[in-house]
Symmetry: C2
């Protein structure tokens, strides 16, 4: 019996998120079916990050145990043969039998991308959020800086989340602008329900001048979802990468936190 970890990329457009729900087809479900078919065992993956309906991923992770004789690093090729083209296993590897990525320290990176122009571009419509209003990117960066660090992100969490604490740590939040592409890149040790999309929606309010940058500090302090901006649409969001630290965060990472 081997424990296998997969790195999974998907176009979330046609899925009701990662996790199996009664409301519609999920990425997890399609992956379970494909793995079970290809490996001839009943496979149920355990995911690391439950992306929402319509959200994309380039580097979500999941694990499962299998008796398959296929070499671990070849499993990705085998399962891709039976997966639909909107889900691709980008990597497969063996991990220790007691390894569970959800129990590791981790850094997740999301990108929220806007197509910023007066009219939409049909070629990027599924993977960006169209935004035509003028944006003051330096002001958005100023606001974003208030969010970096360890904070209680209650204002940036949709109702329905059952978590012990709403304290999270954002280690980096940058905003890149290149032509019509504006991308928020956000890395943290964990994210609350809808947190990245509420941050994006709030920063957009700053970018359009509806709120001054310093308002974001007030929003954090309010610890109230009503204080923040609206949740930005799912299509602009992509889970880019999950970095795992099975031995705990190394010092070169925690050093910058203090």
């Amino acid at each position: 019996m081997k424990r296998i970890m997969l790195t999974v990329a998907y176009d979330g457009t046609n899925y009701h998120g990662w996790q199996t729900e009664p409301t519609g087809i999920s990425v997890e479900e399609v992956l379970n079916k494909a793995l079970s078919k290809r490996l001839g065992e009943d496979i149920r993956v355990k995911g690391v990050s439950r992306t929402d309906s319509g959200v994309h991923a380039r580097g979500n992770l999941c694990i499962f145990d299998s008796e398959t004789p296929i070499p671990p690093e070849k499993i990705c090729y085998a399962v891709n043969e039976v997966l639909p083209e909107d889900i691709v296993v980008r990597r497969s590897e063996e991990v220790p039998a007691d390894f569970h990525p959800r129990k590791c320290d981790s850094l997740k990176t999301y990108e929220y991308t806007l197509y910023h122009d007066s009219l939409p571009d049909p070629l990027v419509r599924h993977f960006t959020t169209f935004f035509y209003r003028k944006l003051d990117v330096p002001k958005m960066r100023e606001a974003a800086a208030c969010l970096v660090g360890e904070h209680d992100f209650s204002s940036f969490c949709s109702a329905g989340a059952q978590v012990e604490t709403k304290i999270r740590r954002i280690t980096a939040l940058s905003i890149e602008e290149e032509g019509t592409r504006v991308a928020f890149r956000i890395t943290g040790t964990g994210f609350l329900y809808n947190m990245v999309r509420i941050i994006a929606g709030t920063l957009l309010r700053v970018g359009t001048g509806f709120w001054p940058p310093e308002k974001v500090k007030e929003i954090l302090e309010a610890k109230d979802r009503q204080a923040a901006g609206p949740k930005a649409p799912a299509e602009g969001l992509c889970l880019m990468e999950i970095r795992l630290f099975p031995e705990g965060f190394p010092e070169e990472i925690t050093r910058s936190w203090n």
Copy 2:
């Protein structure tokens, strides 16, 4: 009565090309329907470039005549309201009543884009061609250089084209490589049926080492479709821009040809 020119972008994935055919729904057809509905007249656009089934565009052009009181530059917003999201009119403008872009000198630019990696990326699958074999880009550039200039491109034209001459002029052909993206960017005064895709397919044969770069010169000289490589798939191709020169090509362009 005003003559209006539209700049049209579309995701060609679900269309049987620009032009109305009995085999399936076309971009032109959907555009005619939307314009007729929105302007309350029977509109039939005249296109400039008949892109193939599955091929995309960021800057195709078409014209039509209308009595609409909507200001020409606002027509794009009006028609986008009723167009499906995979077709967007990016610009609308009035042109002289006797203006016809197909009668103007023009430079068309196409991009053929590869996603070059060992496994596909589901987020770019509709707008790139997945290619996993090793590519020698400098050799492809060497081969591409043989195609620039005025040549008889009979070897790069699919059967079925009814044209007086197969002599065309390619003014630029560059190959950009940036991470997993390899893009052929090709500009010319006109293109034969499937010409860009056959050029891409031929350059890929050079890139993989199947043919040496100098083979492309032989292929041109053969004036025989059988001599060239296969036509590369439609999804990687996008018509980027059509530059029109109603007064004929200016000297700064023709100067470089001689």
